[in-house]
């Protein structure tokens, strides 16, 4: 007998590739969930990994960095926050631009 597979519909689950504890420190929601403002996870609500290796929902960290009191520092280590995540940084050049896109009108 020979088996020929004609069609294969598979199911897979995705997660953020996060080794650390799995909650965004700012919104306290799991990384795999969304920030407080988003409905859909993943592309619509990506993570941002800082050079300090602290990560947050992108919207959360941008909301923080927009605060004057933040002084552009990571809320965890208070080092200047710089994105390590090339794609995310490339996709939208400035925090303000992303905020403008995602915050409700």
């Amino acid at each position: 007998m020979k088996v020929t597979i004609q069609e294969w519909k598979a199911v897979a689950a995705w997660r953020w590739d996060m080794p650390d504890d799995d909650v965004c420190g700012i919104c306290r929601n799991p990384y795999d969930s969304t920030c407080s403002k988003c409905k859909y996870p993943g592309d619509d609500c990506p993570l941002l990994l800082g050079e300090c290796n602290h990560s947050f929902h992108m919207h959360c960290i941008f909301s923080w960095l927009r605060q004057e009191s933040a002084q552009e520092k990571c809320p965890m280590c208070r080092q200047p926050f710089k994105s390590k995540n090339q794609e995310a940084a490339a996709a939208d050049s400035t925090p303000q631009a992303i905020e403008a896109n995602t915050s409700p009108a």
Binding site: V3, T4, Q6, E7, A13, L49
Partner: protein, 891 residues
């Protein structure tokens, strides 16, 4: 003599007392008689000064009474007509002259009184026996008319016989006496005169008729009359279903004849004094029954066809059928007011409506089940509800019907749901404000909430497509409710933005019912789905929804997910958007997955083009082992669209806990998955995929020595198992001429698959006659159907098929709470035992709290589950309940 004694005397003929028989013509031996005194007179023996007067009176009395005495026989037809002079004198003396009434004597003891008694005695002796004979026996319903008519005839005859002497011989003298007395008083002497005579005459008549009516058994008479009137009513109104059990005649009734006979009878009864109050009561009784009969008649049958209320025609009957009859009867009975006024008529209409309503309420459950054919009945009830107390009556009775006929173990949840929906629809029509519905639905909702399959049935039913052309064939089995599905198919209701209370243009506006409860305004009573979705706390429902929705999305065959999108919109409209994030994410996942698949396929194709097309067979070894290389060559060259992997990419956080059995998929799939995975991770930075091979589906072709078969909608584990029946590297493809065989254990090891799953798959393939068991737990491919075609095998195959189907039906993609609990039960139990050992006695609530805090991965259960675990541990004699929910370790 007092009245009572007289009556008594009339009934029991004791001709003694004070009544004297008329003096006999031939003087009998009366014994001692004082000289100068007349015998036979009650006035004998008075003082000597009145001797003359007394003597004269006695003589007159004797003459008059002899003249007026009635014949002493039953044949009382002959009437004396002529008075002699003696008699004239005597009557004149006694009725007009000095002999009228002796001093100190009562009026009755005058001549009129004497005659009255004479009549009574005669009646008792000669007339009553006839009547007694007539009434003695049971009167069959068929004889009621005749009995009354005969009674009336007898009495009428007697009355005429008694009245004649009175009219002829007493009345003229009374006239004369009256004119003597009144001549000086007034110019209207004649009137006064006539009045006095009338009074005397009617007193006589009254006394006589009292004797008549007292001699009849009043209850039976009344019943008989009542039946006659009822019978007349039934005939006049042509009722076919009667309360007295009498079969109406097949021939059309002669209503005029019936009416005439009834009128005559009533008038005549009235004439002999049998009308009056007694007859009126009988009449009232019969009218009551006539209304009842009307309510039960064909006139008020539920109008199933034009679905209209019968109340207007019922009111019309009361006004134009019942009222004229009542007026006619009252007229015959010479009642004071023979006109039925409109207030009285309205009362009758309300009475009829109340009875109609109660009759409808008794069958309300059936009307609900037959909604909306039963619209007419519901509209009748709507009228009924306007009456006082009607709501309470309906509520109580319907609730009783519901608890008796619906809320019991025998009723399936689907049936209860369907009936509940009918109740919602019918009651919405009955009382649009929904207060009644709220109260009758409360126990149903509570009951449904307690049934564990309610949510599943509701949600699954919401997801059936009854519009589907194939929909007619959807097995609407116990698990799916067509009623719910059809609610879903209705167009979206207008959003409830317009507040009814402030819609000034609404001509149908009604004030809120006074018995509305506070949360009343919130209920949107026309919305069946809203009622169903609000059976539970929102959170509980949404959790259940999440599980079923997820399971459904993974099974769904519609690539557009139209029904699912619609359902979610619908639920969002009712429960608000905030809580439905998980469902929205799940839906988007399945929709998005197609785009991801396309993107990945495009990427793969372009890179494949760059590479050489030398990888045609992804598993080179299988090519080497292929038994018929020629055919396979033609396949590979003719099938350039290489097998592509389509994946559903799930945002794991938002999905329910899914089945996650781990096993090896076929190598070619594994490599496709790896490929997909790496491309996915390249496109979606920082994300990783985990394949859930328990889920998904596949289509395969099996080529045997003698046939080729295609199988669709297979689960991956089914494919993996059959795939493993192909020769392995270095294995003799012919299996030593016997074909490749595998044991369960071998398969478990090869595939690293759970034994139960292996067995399920084997059973499935045996059912398809692809595998057969050679010896215990060893299976072989059926390469040639004909060679192995023996009945034993096909029986086994059939049995296996059945088993596989049963198991497949039980296989859900979502892990149920119960599965989760049983999976981790050992962990939980050892945790509980440890905690009780370490911490001493604890209450359930505290155990739950500790477990929620401490158990890895959380403890997504409630106190109930903790209790169940404790009870199980108690059974194992590890813990003991100390009562009051406190538990301790068993020492």
């Amino acid at each position: 003599m007092d009245h009572a004694s007289l009556v008594f005397a009339s009934v029991f003929p004791v001709p003694s007392l004070s009544h004297t028989t008329p003096t006999p013509v031939a003087t009998p031996d009366l014994g001692y008689t004082a000289p100068g005194s007349s015998f036979g007179s009650p006035f004998a023996g008075t003082s000597g000064a009145e001797q003359h007067h007394v003597a004269k009176r006695n003589s007159a009395w004797s003459t008059a009474t002899r003249f007026l005495s009635l014949p002493r026989d039953a044949n009382y037809t002959g009437l004396r007509t002529r008075r002699t002079r003696d008699v004239d004198d005597a009557l004149n003396y006694l009725l007009v002259g000095a002999g009228k009434t002796p001093d100190g004597a009562k009026a009755e003891e005058g001549l009129v009184g004497w005659y009255t008694n004479e009549v009574r005695l005669h009646y008792a002796k000669y007339v009553r026996p006839d009547l007694r004979e007539l009434w003695e026996k049971e009167i069959p319903l068929s004889d009621t008319w005749e009995t009354l008519e005969e009674t009336q005839r007898i009495l009428d005859h007697a009355q005429k016989f008694y009245l004649h002497p009175f009219d002829e011989h007493i009345v003229p003298f009374l006239h004369q006496d009256a004119s003597n007395m009144t001549i000086r008083v007034s110019r209207d002497a004649d009137t006064v005169d006539a009045g006095l005579v009338e009074a005397a005459k009617s007193k006589f008549q009254r006394d006589m008729q009292a004797a008549f009516s007292h001699s009849l058994p009043s209850k039976r008479f009344s019943k008989t009359l009542s039946h006659v009137l009822y019978d007349a009513g039934c005939r006049l109104f042509r009722f076919y279903i009667r309360q007295d059990g009498v079969q109406p005649s097949a021939a059309p009734e002669d209503t005029n004849g019936v009416r005439a006979r009834m009128t005559t009878l009533l008038v005549n009864l009235q004439g002999v004094g049998l009308g009056g109050e007694m007859a009126q009561k009988a009449f009232a009784h019969s009218m009551d029954k006539i209304i009842d009969t009307f309510i039960g008649s064909h006139y008020t049958k539920v109008d199933w066809f034009s679905k209209a209320s019968v109340v207007p025609s019922m009111r019309n009957w009361v006004e134009n059928g019942f009222r004229p009859l009542a007026e006619l009867v009252l007229k015959c009975l010479q009642c004071q007011s023979t006109n039925v006024d409109s207030t009285q008529m309205k009362q009758w209409q309300e009475m009829a409506l109340a009875r109609l309503g109660r009759a409808r309420v008794e069958n309300l459950f059936d009307f609900v089940i037959n909604w909306d054919r039963s619209l007419g009945a519901i509209l009748d009830l709507k009228e009924y509800l306007k009456l006082d107390g009607a709501k309470e009556f309906l509520k109580n009775h319907f609730s009783r019907q519901v608890s008796r006929r619906l809320l019991h173990q025998g009723a399936t949840t689907t049936y209860i749901l369907n009936v509940y929906i009918s109740i919602i629809r019918a009651f919405h029509r009955l009382e649009p404000k929904g207060v009644l519905l709220q109260s009758v639905a409360r126990p149903i909702r509570r009951y449904l909430k307690d049934r564990e399959d309610t949510a599943r049935i509701i949600i699954s039913s919401l997801l059936i497509d009854i519009e589907d052309e194939k929909g007619k064939n959807i097995p609407l089995n116990g698990e799916l409710s067509y009623e719910i599905a059809s609610e879903m198919a209705k167009p979206f209701a207008q959003p409830d933005n317009v507040d009814d209370e402030f819609n000034w243009n609404d001509m149908n506006w009604q004030p809120l019912p006074h018995d509305a409860s506070p949360e009343y305004k919130k209920s949107k009573i026309e919305d069946v789905i809203y009622f169903l979705l609000t059976l539970w706390d929102r959170e509980d429902f949404i959790n259940e929804l999440k599980n079923i929705f997820g399971d459904h999305l993974l099974r769904c065959q519609d690539p557009e997910f139209q029904l699912e999108i619609r359902l979610l919109e619908l639920i969002k409209m009712r429960l608000g958007e905030e809580k439905l994030q998980a469902c929205e994410v799940m839906l988007r996942d399945v929709l998005e997955s197609r785009r991801i698949n396309d993107a990945i396929r495009t990427a793969a194709e372009s890179s494949n083009r760059r590479e050489l097309i030398l990888q045609t067979p992804r598993t080179p070894r299988s090519k080497a082992l292929r038994p018929r290389p020629q055919k396979s060559l033609s396949i590979s060259s003719a099938s350039p669209p290489a097998l592509a992997l389509n994946a559903q990419i799930l945002s794991s956080f938002f999905w329910p806990v899914l089945r996650d059995d781990d096993f090896h998929v076929p190598a070619e799939i594994l490599s496709l998955q790896k490929d997909y995975e790496s491309r996915f991770e390249r496109i979606k930075g920082m994300r990783k995929l985990r394949w859930m091979n328990a889920l998904g589906e596949s289509r395969i072709t099996l080529e045997f020595e003698d046939r080729t078969e295609e199988f669709e909608h297979l689960a991956p584990w089914q494919v993996s198992v059959i795939y493993a029946f192909q020769p392995q590297p270095g294995e003799d493809p012919s299996g030593g001429g016997k074909g490749i065989s595998r044991t369960i254990t071998q398969l478990e090891e090869m595939l690293e698959m759970d034994e139960s799953l292996v067995k399920q798959a084997i059973a499935f393939w045996i059912g398809k006659s692809v595998l057969r068991e050679t010896s215990d737990s060893t299976y072989i491919v059926v390469e040639n159907r004909s060679s192995t075609d023996n009945p034993v095998d096909s029986d086994a195959a059939a049995a296996a098929k059945e088993l596989a189907e049963v198991q497949a039906a039980q296989t859900s993609t979502v892990k149920s709470q119960a599965d989760l609990l049983s999976e981790k039960k050992d962990v939980y139990m050892s945790f509980i035992v440890g905690m009780l050992t370490n911490q001493g006695n604890m209450g359930v609530a505290r155990i739950l709290m500790m477990m929620r805090m401490m158990v890895q991965g959380g403890f997504p259960f409630a106190e109930e589950e903790v209790k169940a675990l404790l009870v199980e541990l108690e059974g194992k004699e590890k813990v003991v309940g100390l009562g009051g929910d406190v538990w301790s370790i068993k020492k």
